[in-house]
């Protein structure tokens, strides 16, 4: 149900949507990556700063446009990623995102929910030379 879920979590999602954390840019970002849901028009662009060893994430900023689920997910993820290892980021999957959001996500909205996670993962993989795409689109990985 997404934002139709329990009230506490719904309030949390709406709070992140209306007052996004880490919204903006980081000029000295280690890498920047952008992604979209073409069907919904959701976009997320994310700046990530890695530590000197390039093993952990120091901080994240994002900007974007779209539905509450996509933007709140990016905001919540930006908080969660700070301090996380790059290896742990690459391990993340849709279940982790759904857990983070704390609400059931309908099949129609799962793409909105995972967009930010995909952008962060693809950004890291591109940076480490493991992937070669210009933009992330959630259309590519129907699950």
């Amino acid at each position: 149900m997404g934002i139709g879920g329990s009230d506490m979590y719904r309030q949390q999602i709406l709070d992140h949507y209306k007052n996004p954390r880490n919204y903006g840019e980081i000029e000295e970002a280690t890498f920047t990556h952008v992604g979209e849901n073409p069907m919904c028009g959701d976009t997320i662009e994310m700046d990530v700063v890695l530590d000197d060893d390039e093993e952990a994430i120091e901080r994240v900023a994002f900007r974007g446009d779209g539905c509450a689920i996509s933007q709140a997910s990016a905001s919540m993820l930006s908080e969660q990623l700070a301090g996380m290892s790059v290896a742990d980021l690459e391990e993340m999957d849709r279940d982790d995102v759904v857990d983070m959001l704390g609400v059931d996500i309908s099949p129609m909205r799962i793409k909105c929910a995972v967009l930010a996670e995909k952008v962060a993962q693809d950004g890291a993989e591109i940076y480490f030379g493991e992937k070669d795409v210009d933009r992330t689109t959630t259309e590519d990985d129907e699950e």
């Binding site: 709406l14 919904c40 028009g41 539905c67």
Partner: protein, 413 residues
């Protein structure tokens, strides 16, 4: 029902035919406003399908046994009934397909691939549904023909001066949506047809959103081809219609090959069955076709003129109520000049979020691009929320939509 055309619909009597409308979700009674996507199915049509499978079910055209003969006659007569419903000459001009999209593809492949080439032009409108837009776009790529789009003006109408400019001697096909599934605009299809024919172009009208909602006469429009779907007009899914002028269908080669559509087959050659069967390869949607004829009966019993007026009144009422709010932006023409739907956006609330909140109040709407992505891009919005109405909807349901939208507004404020 025997009421005169001037009397309004008896929605409460009609609602008795649609038990699905009694469904409740978490204590809220369903308000079904997604009719442009698919309409609900009255008991008469559901019973028709059940009766067919309980009493008649057999394959058509080939069996000599009783059931096959009954099924064949019912299936063939369904073509006659649909022909009558849209003003076609007869069953020869009515091909049963899967849906509007398949009807479009049938002409695009059977006629377009054979006839189009570099230098030829296909004229569409900026408000075409993907069913036409994507299909002709791809046929153009295959043949070297070029697609041009008649502009939609700021109010959501076609720019007819631009239409006259675009349609020229080079135009081979003009394909126009009768009623926009996003804007609700009712296009001047007769006038566009005259321009097309003055330039010796063929003329295809996409009637997916018109046939369910208004009296349609394909000969008045003078369409060469006309397409619509059963499931938006009280019929089942899996059945669509391609109308084509007999001489054109006669000249065209088949689109799909196989059983049923042949006359004589040797290891080297085949000849084709007569119209419309030439275009209905394989076992067709038999019960769906027969049920579509039942849906035509159902709508004619109500009276298509009254169906039209009811839909337009609800659309105007919804338009007026939505217009009360400064934070609601409505797409398309004014309330007194649109078909039975209203698409809009609520400031600060993405259409998907709005529809999810509406869903909590059991108000079913569509959110997204409604298969008109380029039109949404042109309008500068990624998506919109669409409320679309049919014979069983009421003004009270529009009020419930407005109330539920207010909840969404409060939540996101």
């Amino acid at each position: 029902m025997g009421l005169s055309e001037s009397e309004p619909l008896d929605t409460s009597a009609i609602r008795d035919d649609f038990p699905i409308l009694e469904r409740e979700f978490r204590g809220e009674q369903l308000v079904y406003l997604d009719n442009a996507a698919t309409s609900q199915t009255p008991d008469q049509v559901v019973d028709n399908i059940a009766h067919y499978y309980r009493n008649t079910n057999a394959n058509v055209h080939r069996g000599l046994h009783h059931l096959s003969q009954e099924a064949s006659i019912a299936y063939e007569e369904a073509h006659d009934r649909v022909a009558e419903f849209i003003g076609a000459e007869g069953r020869e001009e009515v091909v049963f397909t899967k849906n509007t999209t398949e009807s479009m593809n049938t002409v695009a492949y059977a006629w377009g691939l054979a006839e189009l080439g570099p230098g030829d032009e296909i004229v569409l409108t900026e408000m075409e549904h993907h069913a036409a837009l994507v299909t002709w776009q791809q046929i153009a790529k295959k043949t070297g023909a070029e697609v041009k789009y008649i502009r939609v003006d700021d109010e959501g109408y076609l720019d007819m001066d631009h239409a006259r400019e675009l349609i020229t001697d080079d135009t081979e096909m003009v394909s126009v949506v009768h009623v926009s599934n996003t804007l609700g605009t009712i296009n001047p299809v007769t006038e566009i047809g005259e321009i097309a024919h003055d330039n010796d172009a063929l003329y295809f009208v996409d009637g997916a959103q018109s046939v369910p909602h208004m009296p349609v006469d394909v000969q008045d429009i003078d369409a060469d081809f006309f397409a619509f779907s059963g499931h938006k007009m009280c019929g089942p899914t899996g059945i669509g219609v391609l109308y084509g002028k007999e001489h054109l269908l006669e000249e065209m080669q088949p689109y799909l090959y196989g059983g049923m559509m042949i006359e004589k087959v040797t290891y080297e050659e085949s000849t084709w069955h007569e119209l419309p069967w030439k275009f209905e390869a394989g076992t067709p949607p038999i019960s769906e076709g027969i049920a579509l004829a039942e849906a035509c009966d159902y709508l004619d019993d109500i009276g298509m003129e009254r169906v039209r007026r009811h839909g337009e009144e609800l659309a105007e009422y919804a338009y007026d109520r939505l217009s009360e709010f400064e934070d609601i932006n409505i797409l398309g023409p004014g309330g007194d000049d649109r078909s039975a739907l209203v698409s809009f956006n609520l400031d600060g609330v993405h259409a998907h979020d709005a529809s999810e909140i509406l869903n909590e109040y059991a108000v079913a709407v569509r959110a997204g691009d409604h298969c008109t992505q380029p039109l949404h891009d042109k309008l500068g919005v990624s998506s919109s929320t669409r409320a679309s109405f049919y014979i069983y909807n009421t003004k009270a349901e529009v009020d419930k939509l407005i109330d539920a939208l207010d909840e969404a507004r409060q939540l996101f404020a």
